[in-house]
Subunit: 165 residues, 6 copies
Amino acid sequence: MQRIAIYPGSFDPITNGHLDIVFRASRLFDKTILAVAYHNEKDTLFNIQERVKLCKEATAMIDNVEVRQFKGLVVDFAKNVNSIVIVKGLRAVSDFEYELQLLLMNRKLYDEVETVFLTPRNCYLYLSSSIIKQVAKLGGDVSEYVPKSVKKALEEKYKNLDSDI
Amino acid sequence: MQRIAIYPGSFDPITNGHLDIVFRASRLFDKTILAVAYHNEKDTLFNIQERVKLCKEATAMIDNVEVRQFKGLVVDFAKNVNSIVIVKGLRAVSDFEYELQLLLMNRKLYDEVETVFLTPRNCYLYLSSSIIKQVAKLGGDVSEYVPKSVKKALEEKYKNLDSDI
Amino acid sequence: MQRIAIYPGSFDPITNGHLDIVFRASRLFDKTILAVAYHNEKDTLFNIQERVKLCKEATAMIDNVEVRQFKGLVVDFAKNVNSIVIVKGLRAVSDFEYELQLLLMNRKLYDEVETVFLTPRNCYLYLSSSIIKQVAKLGGDVSEYVPKSVKKALEEKYKNLDSDI
Amino acid sequence: MQRIAIYPGSFDPITNGHLDIVFRASRLFDKTILAVAYHNEKDTLFNIQERVKLCKEATAMIDNVEVRQFKGLVVDFAKNVNSIVIVKGLRAVSDFEYELQLLLMNRKLYDEVETVFLTPRNCYLYLSSSIIKQVAKLGGDVSEYVPKSVKKALEEKYKNLDSDI
Amino acid sequence: MQRIAIYPGSFDPITNGHLDIVFRASRLFDKTILAVAYHNEKDTLFNIQERVKLCKEATAMIDNVEVRQFKGLVVDFAKNVNSIVIVKGLRAVSDFEYELQLLLMNRKLYDEVETVFLTPRNCYLYLSSSIIKQVAKLGGDVSEYVPKSVKKALEEKYKNLDSDI
Amino acid sequence: MQRIAIYPGSFDPITNGHLDIVFRASRLFDKTILAVAYHNEKDTLFNIQERVKLCKEATAMIDNVEVRQFKGLVVDFAKNVNSIVIVKGLRAVSDFEYELQLLLMNRKLYDEVETVFLTPRNCYLYLSSSIIKQVAKLGGDVSEYVPKSVKKALEEKYKNLDSDI
């Protein structure tokens, strides 16, 4: 039996911290699906197409990783793709509590899928998409924390925002 | 002297976790007033009338519990109803810190009222109204976590939201 | 029906933080029993007789407070004295987790008793018997944090320790 | 060499907790610059001019403190004013994690500036601008937590909001 | 390639919380080795032979689980048995930090093994071997939290301790 | 006026994490005194002379750093050496709470000295002397986390322990 993991998130945008987790997951399971969650466009910086595209570019070199988008409950998506594992990256403490809340709810909704937490490298332990956006917006250099294509996409996005002002 | 407790919150909507706390409080104090806080309508899913109605239905069977709405400071409401106890349900860690902040401020504003923390059953320790709404919105089954009337109200609410799209 | 609370602990020795909690409990319940836990003598600075005596002196002026010692499970003691409430003082975060562990276990062992958490005054939020002992041992002045009799008892104790060296 | 510290924040509005930190910083470093961050007007209660003015009034009596506004990255501002220290007030746990996230990012962006955490007095440990605003909005008395000028400004602000309704 | 996980710990004694984790791991990996760590006899209630025996009895019915004892570094044991995964059960917050410390150290010592965190059922989230021992020692009923053989072993152990007194 | 900082601790033994903090402190203050706390010999792996010696060797190249030993209260030592700053390295969350407890007590005992928290590099955020000792004892390689002299001292120490068995 093939063991399929999903790694759900907003990936708005994908960071090196996410990639670190994807890579670790790809070694533990036969296939890992990076599952990009649909959101209302106004709630994310990048729309769903952009987020998926950036994820695909960033994971192109890992064989057993696939990028898909989904709408609705994570557990329903897991069921649809025959996944038995939800992978989550674990960072700070407050993070863990929220993740625990999700995990317990997901387990109640569908108990055939197991949530596993993986921990990124030291330097990504306190990284998040929001701090990346915050820094990029103010003109800071985020090249150590995101793939090149994401860096470029962030520059484009914030240039446009600027010209709006 | 009768000891009156108030249990303030948004209750947007009331969950089984809230009910667990109400029930525990009702055994410790002579009367418990479930105090539903007024908010701007756009900040809650259910308006104040709906929230009060759902709370009343859910607590109808507990003798010494009363449901009231209030506007303004919790301590002012406590003073008005001669309450000497504010009951809070305690869940996760981050929760506790925010509650501590409120408690210390409330104590400064009016030191005749004591805040006590009660802990719900295991299975409600990581429950919150927001995760309930999030799951219900995506079509998940929340019947283990809310009273029947709340489940129905959530379905109504999100059906209407859907037809808006 | 009279509502009896117990406030269990080592009280090695009792501090102003403990007294603050006792006082708050005494306003909420008809009677509060300060329950001093038996320990092996080598595990505490003061033996059980000394700890009980210091607690009695410190709470002498509060009418509805009683000091008792107990051995064995807290819930068994609660049952024996017809108590329906275990009072715990809540301080820092790590504290809360350990207390939660105890609470859930106690509830499983005997679910007729409810645990309530009370919060001491600001200045006692980060106080503990161990830091008091640590400071007193090194000759620091702890008079703002303990009753006079405790201060004297600590001085006696550490003077004797000194002469041992 | 003169050691210059900056103390960045929104100060929306400045509280006695902030002032406590400024005062402590002023004793440790030759000069402390209270650096008020620019934000979109709709994101703060007071606009940048108001926030700066309230900070200036509140710190007027401390010799080696200066109030400045800035836009963009904190580290760029630090560089511009030759500061080697970013001062942060530390309060609750969740606070610390977010601050750690900022610190590590700032260090990566510019490693010539060191972040130091100072702790305010007991009674300000759980204080924040948001709880002040929340209480003031509901008519509570915040005079123990903010300078007089801030109290007056809050009253003005919320009076106007009221008349809008 | 067969994926082998190790689940290291003291298991002094094994609890239902541990068993819950073992069972979850057994579904995710081809083989799971429950790895019982050697300790000085005086540091554990049960000696290494007893701990291993109790673990074997408790996991006898799960096909792809094996019990082994080890001495030395966890990562060295992982290397010896060709394991690519260290499984850890995650409970409360403070737990997580200590686990993070171990994880980062282990990764530095041997980066071919990945640590994954699994979460037990709700009712075991706040369970630990030490609270089990504490309760059993005082005569409390722990049968909901440990396998029958462990319950019996605890009774034996504490009966003997009693007769020593 | 010269600003003198003290950096108190057990340093049993000094790690690269400690050195990272010393170095940061040395840039912020005119002089930094690494203050090695006296303990009963049986409570530390290295005795006070050994700990001081290892600290001296490790900090020899930093000009404005001095190593001293002390007995008694940290604040008394601070007073004796005219220090106005106690430097503490900040790591994980639980750490912070204990440090807060010490800080508030120290401030009460002597309010002329300020405690500042500095944060070490990413890779030392979860490092502690105890995990170093634990790993070294089991034969793991700790050379990335301690100065060479400490590594050698640990090897000596644990070799002797071995031959005792």
